[in-house]
Structures are given as C-alpha cells and as structure tokens.
Symmetry: C2
Subunit: 283 residues, 2 copies
C-alpha cells in the first residue's frame, strides 16, 4: 500500500466492531485507527462525506457471491474517491466464553450468511440449536456481555480478541477460497493521499446503439489497459438504460491517461471513481 | 408471450403467497396456476429440477438496485432454461382489516425493503410504529389470520385479495419507476414450449488477455445482435477469474445463430441459458 496519512485515522466500518470491515480497516490503515460503526452503507458514505470520519472501508465484491451492486450506485453518486483496496479471506471461527468446550455448547448464533458458510462444520454437530442473528460480531458481543454459557457465536478472530472469547474451533468455513474485496474511501482532497496507482475504477455510459460498448472496450484495450471487472447497472429514473462500472489495470499511467482521454471523447457519460494500487490478498 | 403449455401449471415462487413472485407468475402463466412456495432461490431451482413443479418465477434484476447476481450463478449451474421474462412494476399498498382507517392504525409492519420504498408516505405518519418483518405478504397474512386490529402491512394488492384485507392507501411507493424483472424457468424439455424468440441470455468466459472481451463483444455486434446487459461474475474456485453473463436481443434468429457460432469459436466457455420473447412491462 502506498498511502500517506497521519495516524490515528477515524475510519467508518459497516456493521459493529469485530466484524470483517474492522479487520480490513486495521490491515490497511493500521491498528491505531478509531473505528466508527455505521449501520448501513448509506450511513457509511454520509459519515465520510460530512467528514465525521477521515476514511471508510466498504465491501464491494465477494469471490463467491459476486459484486455488491447497490454499493456501486452509492459510490457513483457520492463525493468520495477510492484510494485503495484489499482482498480479505473470510475466516470463520467458533467463539465462546473461556471454559466452554465443544461438548458444553448447546446453541450457536450468527448471521445467516456465516451459518451458511460453515454448513460442513455445523453438520458434524446436529445436537446444536442454530440461531440466526443480525451480525456475527454482535452475537459474539452478546455472549461476552451477558456471560452466556452453553452458547457459541460464529465470527472473526478479532471478535474473539475484542470481546474476550476463546476460539473453540478455528477456520470452520467450508470454502477456503472465500475472499471479500474492500475499498478504502475518502472525501476528495481528504486526509489520505495515494502516491502511485496501477488500477482505476470508472463508470461510463455508451451510446444506445449496437456495438457502442464493444467499441469503447476496444479503445481501452488498444491503449494497453486491461479490464478486470464490468457490470451494467440500471440508470435510476431512466428505465433499463445502463451505466457500466469497470475496473482497469495498467503498467503505465500514461497508457491509462490515454484510455481516459478516449473515454472522455466517446462515452456519453464518464467518471473516475478512484486511482489506486491494486490490493493484495490478506489471510 | 408465445408460450405453449397445458394448464394448470405448478409454479414455484420465492417467498410466500401474495408476494410479487406470485403476481409475476399469474401475469405470465395464468390465474389458474398452482403456486408452490419456496423459502430460498436455491430451493426454487431444486424444486424445478426435480420436477416437483412445472416452472418457476425468479427475480433477476431490479431497475433501482441492479442485478441479483447470486441468481445468475444458480441459473448457470442448474439444468433449467429461461423460456420467458416479465417486467413487473413494484406497487406497494397499505393493507389492514376491514373497518380500519388511517386514523385507527398504530403500527405498520413489512419487509425492510418495502418500508424503505415507502419512506415518503410513512414520513407523513410519524405517529405510526414501524416494525420490520421477513416478508411483505407474511405480514399481511399474520394480520388476517390473527385478526390484529390497529395494525397495517405494506404489500401487494394480491396479498389484500388473498388474505381478505382492505387497501387503506394505494400506490404508496415513493419511486413509480421501480420495476423488477422476473425470469420464467423450466427444466429442459419441460412442460412449457416457447415458439419464437428475440432475446437470449448467455454466459461465457474470455481468454485472460487484454482486449479479449472487447473482441467477443465486437463479434456479437458485427452479427447485428445487440447487448442489453453484461455482468462479470467470479468463477467459484478460480479466484478472481470471471464469467460474463449477458443478454442479447435480435430481430433475426439467423443473426443470433451467427453470434452463437462466433462465441462457440472464440469464447473459452459458452452456455446459452435460454432463448425467449423479450418481456413487456406490467403495471
């Protein structure tokens, strides 16, 4: 990562503390961040725009489920820019109060998505009652605060650390190739500067005629710039007209600028959402 | 619609009766269908594959929120084919027991998404307590079955009809341009035949080199076939490799077959998910 900023940063995360957004924030912006919980992605964007926080982490894509499309529209309509990204492996653990064992557990509580990610492990324990909750980290916190015995939560190792729980069983997720991509967002001219880039997120519209999109993509490719993601999103208010969101990767910033010049000339709408260093995968 | 089948069809819908999936099913396959409730989209696909039902309706895209990407992967990995589609305007109503008025209502219950769609209307009644539920139609059914007074649900006019509720306030959704696109699915060689088509849903992979996608899209455009939707989806198990899902529209079936031939030659993976008549918009 090639970000420059003064610590500590106030960083908005979606959900409660101890969830994967906080892990992504710590891995990218340091352990001394001040996490600010936001209930929804909309609230997270608003907090960053109003400078209540210096930055935000936003999940945008998952290697199993695909893009989180509503977040693209939120980003496009915001005053924020993307300054970085990270790919975080989603590792789930069985968490409970100190002293508990797999045998003493009677109930397991977590978010439906986390429960689904751990079906193989949970299948080995048909005696456990499974309870759905709003948030993995919230389930962990409730067990900790209520000192609830006989109950476990599924969640991150950070949640165990924050709430003083033991990891009864580590890495219980069925799919070890489940990564979520998070974007680091700041207000334009905000407190984080990125000095180099080899990736950009853009959105654009093409003329409503056959071949218009193919022509734009060919122009981009002809500049030596590669496309790593593409989604057509409905243009709200203009029924079934589309805006395309794409990620571009490049070795040379000059080649990327050439692609930008082409897009400015040929696309009917064009906006750069951010230029940043392609993220690494974190375990 | 140019579908041929013998009525009545058993039709899987996602969610409970009275929800928008059932409206889409009735509008496309007739009022004499036998609706079969499925809790999840995965269950809906399995019921259709096992011929427990003759067909299924599946929401795939919304004009505000965008594509429902996990459903593309479900479709791609299934033995089902798309035989039709419909665009349904999402109209929300305030439903309550006969005898209730706007003044007698104290609580309003519905799915969080429906509540969000009606924020303008609900904002005019700050005296109401808002309660979130799992399903719009379920909230309506509970009020009906429990004969709960002073409580209203937000839901479809079909839910009002099915559960004997009155419409206290019609069309309370803020955005009148909120359409959801539903696909009609059957098992291959199932009980529904479609005789004509001017639209196809396909998925394909391109070589992992700059310009490969642009070249494929240009080939499609050169056949005189237009592209109306495009999403890159992660290939599960092959981290950050992508499969593209696209919709093609055409005037001439021969031109479409030409595009299919080209795709078979140039794409590294290619599958047709269905050929069908482009759907109309239903109010």
């Amino acid at each position: 990562m090639t970000l420059e900023y003064e610590s500590p940063l106030r960083v908005a995360i979606q959900g409660v503390r101890g969830a994967f957004h906080e892990i992504a924030a710590r891995e990218t912006l340091g352990n001394d961040i001040i996490p600010v919980e936001c209930l929804t992605f909309r609230e997270l964007v608003a907090a960053t725009e109003s400078e209540k926080v210096d930055a935000a982490l936003m999940a945008i894509e998952n290697s199993v489920a695909g893009g989180i499309l509503p977040n693209y529209a939120l980003l496009r309509n915001s005053e924020l820019q993307i300054v970085g990204e990270v790919y975080l492996r989603i590792v789930q653990n069985l968490l409970a109060l100190p002293g508990e064992t797999l045998e003493s557990i009677k109930e397991v509580e977590s978010h439906p998505m986390a429960i689904q990610q751990c079906t193989d492990f949970l299948g080995e324990h048909p005696e456990w009652k499974i309870i759905e909750s709003e948030d993995t980290a919230l389930s962990a916190r409730k067990i900790s605060e209520g000192e609830i015995r006989g109950k476990a939560a599924i969640g991150s190792s950070l949640a165990a650390e924050l709430f003083g729980l033991n990891i009864l069983a580590p890495e219980i997720e069925s799919n070890k190739e489940n990564y979520t991509r998070f974007l680091i967002l700041t207000k334009k001219d905000g407190k984080i500067r990125n000095t180099t880039s080899n990736k950009a997120s853009i959105c654009f519209s093409a003329k409503h005629e056959p071949g218009a999109l193919a022509a734009i993509l060919k122009d981009i490719a002809d500049c030596g710039v590669d496309l790593t993601m593409l989604h057509s999103l409905p243009k709200v208010g203009a029924k079934w007209e589309y805006i395309f969101h794409a990620d571009l990767v490049y070795d040379s910033y000059m080649q990327y600028l050439q692609a930008v010049k082409t897009l400015n000339e040929t696309a009917t709408y064009f906006k750069v959402l951010g230029e940043y260093q392609a993220g690494s995968e974190i375990f």
